[in-house]
Symmetry: C2
């Protein structure tokens, strides 16, 4: 049976963290809202249904038969078990999840740089505020987060090629994605931070070269980054 | 054996979600950094240690013997199992976690209203931006989130007294806390939203009246809300 991923059709966004896990595992899935207008309507109907069931707050969400789960980190917790992309021991499983939640914090902050006043308004309506926020994000937050992941890699007793244990987990895939997004959005600032986080940079390169991920990144299933998503390149916000 | 909670000593903050769970369960715990300067030093030492182990990115974190877990939602996932404050079935457990992650999104947004430009600067340095952000938060976001939790309560097949199943989970405790914080910070706007979310308001009242929670709220272990925390009352941001 095939998984059904529901996410906005025009952006990588938070859905991309799910896509990378499904792609790395070679799991069959439908990217429902991208496939047709009918798929988009199906997504909205699940969000709006009021009769019963556990409808999520927002995309992305995933269905596996009758079971539906929303919230990116919760979806990854679920898929990590199903697709063997998280450790089997409870402590390792929770540590992987903790790493994911920390990546989610960084993703939120990366989004809020271009939308400091709120997601319901256009960037152009909050550009001055974004310019102010971007400075702190570049000088304080990107180095702090990437520096922490560098330490996590350094301290992994099974080696610094992976965040957890000696094989790939969804946390490595998510670290790839956040570094990829930051590099798109803030190439200068991220390049500077990665120079001080060589192991993080190495994980980013290694994930991109995994056969299934490399094939995915070349395919048209991988949407390009753009200025509708979380990671947006506005030259005035980098530096 | 006693749990050790590590969090900033002067605010409820994200640590409060953990405290409520420990208090409801009657679990023994030390609120380490509040107890002494030595406790604060112990917290910082865990964050900064570079030799080995799985040091968290930031407070709150919790130790249970040698095991340490950070990230509020991950801590609750762990304690929910340990303290019987989440369902035992995997689907219910994941749904409870999904609710918690949605509450965490609302908490993040409530924080960013007074810090739209970044957490490293004072409110007074971003007051104009905060005024702009607060309008959208009051008119769009609070009603959207509380309306969704209202629907979750309505749709719970076991009754609308709890978010999940027929007994209390950490998600109910967290819903209490976010409603309590929003009511402190934005009394007018939150009152308006709660008028349209009577079941959410009822959960807030019912949790406050649970014997252990009522005792906790009256004790000096419950810090008052203040203008250093996540939920801050600035009259100019409400309305």
């Amino acid at each position: 049976m095939s998984y059904r991923l529901y996410y906005w059709p025009e952006i990588q966004g938070r859905g991309e963290f799910i896509r990378l896990v499904l792609e790395e595992a070679g799991a069959p899935y439908a990217d429902v809202a991208r496939e047709s207008k009918k798929g988009m309507a199906e997504m909205m109907a699940i969000l709006e249904r009021d009769t019963a069931g556990r409808a999520p707050f927002a995309p992305p969400f995933l269905s596996d038969g009758d079971f539906i789960v929303g919230q990116t980190a919760a979806i990854l917790l679920y898929l990590g078990d199903k697709l063997a992309l998280s450790p089997k021991d409870e402590a390792g499983r929770l540590w992987t999840h903790q790493l994911q939640l920390t990546i989610a914090d960084l993703v939120n902050e990366a989004h809020d740089v271009h939308h400091p006043i709120g997601a319901v308004r256009y960037y152009e309506d909050q550009k001055l505020e974004a310019l102010r926020r971007a400075g702190d994000f570049r000088s304080e937050r990107i180095p702090k987060f990437l520096g922490w992941f560098e330490r996590v890699l350094n301290r992994n007793p099974k080696g610094s090629e992976h965040l957890v244990g000696s094989s790939i987990t969804y946390a490595d895939l998510s670290l790839f994605q956040v570094v990829d997004g930051l590099t798109y959005a803030f190439p200068t600032a991220t390049g500077r931070a990665l120079a001080n986080a060589p192991r993080v940079a190495a994980v980013h390169r290694a994930v991109a070269q995994r056969p299934r991920i490399a094939a995915y990144l070349k395919s048209n299933r991988r949407l390009p980054f753009n200025e509708k998503g979380i990671f947006r390149h506005y030259a005035e916000l980098d530096g």
